[in-house]
Structures are given as C-alpha cells and as structure tokens.
C-alpha cells in the first residue's frame, strides 16, 4: 500500500498562505465559494476563512429542485460553524427552460447545464461581492476528468487541486469539519441517488492508490499491475487520464505569427506582483 499520508498542519499553512497571497496580489481581499455540502468545498471554504477572515468569504448554496436536502443542510452546518455570510439561490428557474427545450435530455447534459449554471451564478456573485471564485476540484477528479469543463472546474484559483480525495479527507480532519460531511459518500448530486464512486465504478481509496503510483511515483502501468492492481482497472484509469487532458488545458491556438499566446508568449500569471 502506498502511503498517501500528508502532514496536515503543514499543508494547511501552505494553502492558507497560497489563498491569501494569490487573492491579494490580484488586488482583491475576498472570496466566493460554491458550498455543495461535500468535503471538498468544505475544506476549501475553511482554508479561505483562515486565509482571509470570515467577513471576507461568501458561501453560496445553489440547489436544483432535485438536489438532496442533506446537501443544503450540510452546507448550512459549515456556514453556521464558520459564521460567514451566505446566499441560497435556486438554479431551477434558470436551468429548467433549457432542459425543457430538449425533451429526453440525457443526465450528462442536464448535469453539465447545472454545473455551468452554478459557475455563472458564482462568477456573478463574485463581481457583486468584489471577490474571486475559489475552486474546489481535487487531484483525483481533475486527473480522471470527472468535472464539467467551464462548470465546476472554473475558478480563479484552486487550493486543493494537488490533493487526492483521500488526502482532502485527511485535511478535513485537521480543519474541524463536521464528520457528517467527511463521512458521507461523495456525490455531484446532479441527479437523485448519484454517487461518484457508483458512477466511476471504483472507490476513491482504490483509485487514489493507483493514481499516486502512476502520477506521483512515475510507475509504468505494467509496474502498477505487478503491484497488484487489475490490468483492466489500470487501463481504465490511464485512458481516462489521457482522454481528459483537454479539460486540464487551455484551448489550443493555431500558430500563425512569430509569437503566439500559449506557445511562445510565456509569462506566469503572477507577473509583476
């Protein structure tokens, strides 16, 4: 078994420093977070409050009519615990006209529309709140492409994107997040009864072990099989990593000129700050 244990105290310090610095150097002091009721957004939210102060964080609860009441309730638990301001905005009235225009729309399409509507509401609220949108995607889902491009993956900065799901849970333990949030089955809650692990077909515990060997430790797929992972599972995961690279990249720009944005016009975002 690979050891994915992290020094949670150290990671907490690094990530609060990261949030504080990256928001302030952009000329802001506030942040907006979509609180889903799950552990990822809970962790990002606690870190943001530590980095910026409770008065500088706005939590959004953005339910759709089929969303689980537990999601709302768990988000509220955290809002009350952190004493941060929040807004609850139903996205049903925004999403339904589009869904109803196309009868028999697939769950995937409906889910993507909801994720992107939450992005629109989040960015709109961030303008009103004069803050930046904090992302809540973890390393497992980013690598597996288990995100909606320009939906839940859209953000100004992401403090937890280099932590596997099981490491986010470790960090949650350090951050005094209610155990009901840490222990429940992860779900995008885009339709009733949906769970991440049900949809992906494997558990986070298992896939994090494999991803850690493949990505962090640079094991070859055949070495992972030799470590005891089923070949079909290794293939499924490696093909997902490759297939969803587009979700992790900016759109390619066709090169015409002698200097092209993205290929030879190269600056860090933090240029000048």
């Amino acid at each position: 078994m690979a050891d994915l244990t992290i020094n949670t105290k150290l990671v907490r310090d690094i990530l609060t420093g990261f949030i504080n610095t990256e928001i302030k150097r952009s000329g802001y002091s506030r942040a907006v977070i979509n609180l889903s009721g799950g552990v990822d957004s809970a962790v990002a939210c606690v870190l943001a409050v530590e980095a910026l102060g409770s008065e500088n964080v706005l939590a959004l609860r953005l339910p759709y009519k089929t969303s689980s009441p537990d999601s709302l309730e768990h988000a509220q638990l955290l809002i009350d615990q952190l004493k941060i301001s929040s807004k609850t905005i139903s996205i049903s009235g925004m999403v339904d006209p589009l869904i109803e225009a196309f009868p028999n729309m697939s769950n995937t399409r409906r889910g993507n529309i909801m994720a992107r509507m939450r992005m629109i509401v989040g960015y709109d609220q961030s303008e009103d709140f004069h803050g930046l949108v904090i992302g809540t995607g973890n390393k497992t889902e980013i690598l597996l492409g288990y995100t909606t491009i320009y939906g839940d993956s859209a953000c100004a900065l992401n403090p937890i994107g280099d932590l596997y799901k099981t490491q986010v849970r470790q960090l949650a333990g350090e951050l005094d997040i209610p155990s009901v949030i840490i222990d429940k089955p992860p779900s995008a809650d885009l339709w009733e009864g949906q769970t991440d692990e049900g949809e992906l077909g494997f558990t986070y515990e298992k896939v994090d072990q494999l991803l850690y060997l493949l990505v962090d430790q640079r094991y070859s797929p055949s070495e992972c099989v030799a470590e005891g992972f089923e070949e079909s599972f290794v293939k499924k995961v490696t093909s997902r990593i490759q297939r969803f690279q587009f979700k992790r990249s900016l759109p390619p720009i066709a090169k015409i000129s002698s200097r092209t944005i993205g290929s030879d016009f190269l600056y860090f975002r933090d240029w000048g700050t």
């Binding site: 150290l10 600056y267 240029w271 000048g272």
Partner: protein, 282 residues
C-alpha cells in the same frame, strides 16, 4: 574573529526590479544595524524566479554604471552582499548570476552552471549557462558561491573546495514539493546535502532560499548554516520572510580539520588522472 552572517529569505515581486531593490536595501540596512558582516539573498532575488519571457527585460550588466547596481554597491560599503540577478553580457546572452559585493566593489560574479530544466523547471529554454567555479577572497576569508541546481552536482562544491573556499554561500529559489506525513520533501533533500557537504568538506555552508508564491509554486525558505562538523548553527522558518542571523566561528575550521584532515589527505591528482583516463577511453 567571528563573522555575523544574515540569511535573507525574502519574497520577491516577479519582474519588478525596483521593488525588489528596495527590499534588498531595507534588509541590508537592517542587517548592518544588527552588526552583521554579510547578508545573503536567494537566487534571482532582484527579479523573482519564474521569469520566462521577462528575462531580457530585467537583465543587468553588473557595474557602477547601472543605476540599480550602483545602489547595491553603495550599500555594500556598509555590509557585504550576496545577491541574485539576471546578468546580460555584451552579446545578449542572459545568465542566472550571483554577485558578491563588498566595499563598493564587485568582488565576484558566479554564473549558474547547471540550469534546472526538468519537471517544474525550464531554465535552459530562457537562459545561458555559466562555465566555471571559482573561489574568491573576501575580507572574511576565501568564499565560494553556488546557485541552487549547481549544488546538486557534487563536483561544484568539490572544485570550490580545492580552489580554496572555506565558506560556501548557497542561494536558491526552491519550490516546495513532495509533502509527506513529515515535512516538505524538497526541504529535506536540500538540508541533507547541505549538512553532508559541510561535514565532507569540513567547511561552513550557508543557504538562503526564498519564500512566497509564483502561480502555484510555493517557495519554502528555511535558511540554514552548517558548521564544519555538519552541525546546524541556525535555521530560518519555513514559508515566512525572515532575516536569520548566525555567528560563523572561523576557529572551528582549525579544530575540525585537525580532528578530520580530509582536505589535507584529498588526492585531486588521482581524481584528475582518472577523469583523464575516462575521457581518453570514453
């Protein structure tokens, strides 16, 4: 005579020479007022690390004629400075350089030889490599300077040691990575080699690493000074700006080298002969 050294683990503004210069002058003045003889800044302390296409815009020809460099030379009349900057030559090549300034003069410039170009690093794409390791004399003794990836190659401190360096000043912009259940992997690695070098070369090893963030990179600080026994004399905090002071006791060189005469017994002639044999026979 004891030497008080100040290790300046600063944050930088990416590509803003003036703001970084101001920080250097503030900390040099602070270190001077605290009676330090030397202040060591991190790699690329005048520019920030992740420069990419900014490189030509922040490059300096180090001389009294450069208004920015002139201010540093002025400051060096009160305290010796080791700084990090992008150096340009007359033919438009750009180097990652370390400068040692003292008494208003440039005492030595070291151009980074080993440019890190793998993983998160991409230095070779934007910068030219130096081609020498030279020790140099200061009012405190004979020094050697190395920049980050330079000291991952064991031949670099070895050559400086044979060239007479007793005091090694190392500067880095080392991003934190490989966090485990214990500490930052990259801090662990750097501290291990600094401690090992101090013991193996029976010399003083000072290291200043920057702090702050550049996009997702997180620089960990943690300045250190090890003595010729490999003993940790001082350590700066992780991830915070700090000016960390330590006393260098040159007498320790004598005591350690009597106990452990590695320098006396070193056989560079064998090294050279064997290297020449390998070169000749492939």
């Amino acid at each position: 005579m004891s030497i008080k050294i100040a290790l300046a683990q600063i944050n930088t503004v990416l590509g803003d020479l003036q703001k970084n210069l101001t920080r250097h002058l503030e900390l040099a003045a602070e270190a001077e007022s605290n009676k330090a003889g030397i202040v060591v800044f991190p790699e690329l302390s005048l520019t920030g690390y992740s420069l990419q296409d900014i490189v030509p815009d922040v490059a300096i020809k180090p001389s009294i004629d450069d208004p920015l460099f002139a201010k540093l030379l002025q400051a060096s009349k009160g305290i010796d400075l080791m700084i990090g900057f992008v150096e340009k030559d007359a033919r438009h090549r750009y180097f990652i350089s370390a400068g040692y300034l003292s008494g208003g003069e440039i005492v030595h410039i070291h151009r980074k030889v080993y440019l890190a170009s793998y993983g998160i690093f991409d230095e070779k794409r934007f910068l030219a490599a130096g081609d020498s390791f030279r020790a140099f004399d200061t009012k405190f003794g004979r020094f050697g300077m190395l920049i980050c990836e330079d000291f991952w190659h064991i031949s670099s401190p070895y050559l400086l040691w044979l060239d007479g360096a007793d005091y090694f000043l190392l500067q880095s912009s080392s991003p934190g990575r490989g966090v485990t259940d214990k500490q930052i992997g990259s801090a662990d690695w750097v501290e291990n080699i600094n401690r090992s070098y101090a013991g193996l070369f029976t010399s003083f090893f000072a290291h200043a690493n920057r702090v702050g963030f550049e996009d997702g990179l997180t620089f960990w600080g943690g300045a250190t000074l090890y003595d010729p026994d490999g003993k940790l004399i001082t350590k700066g905090p992780y991830y915070e700006e700090a000016l960390t002071y330590a006393q260098i006791e040159p007498a320790k060189l004598r005591r350690t080298r009597i106990r452990l005469p590695l320098l006396r017994d070193e056989r560079p002639d064998i090294t050279l002969r064997e290297l020449e044999r390998m070169r000749k026979h492939g």
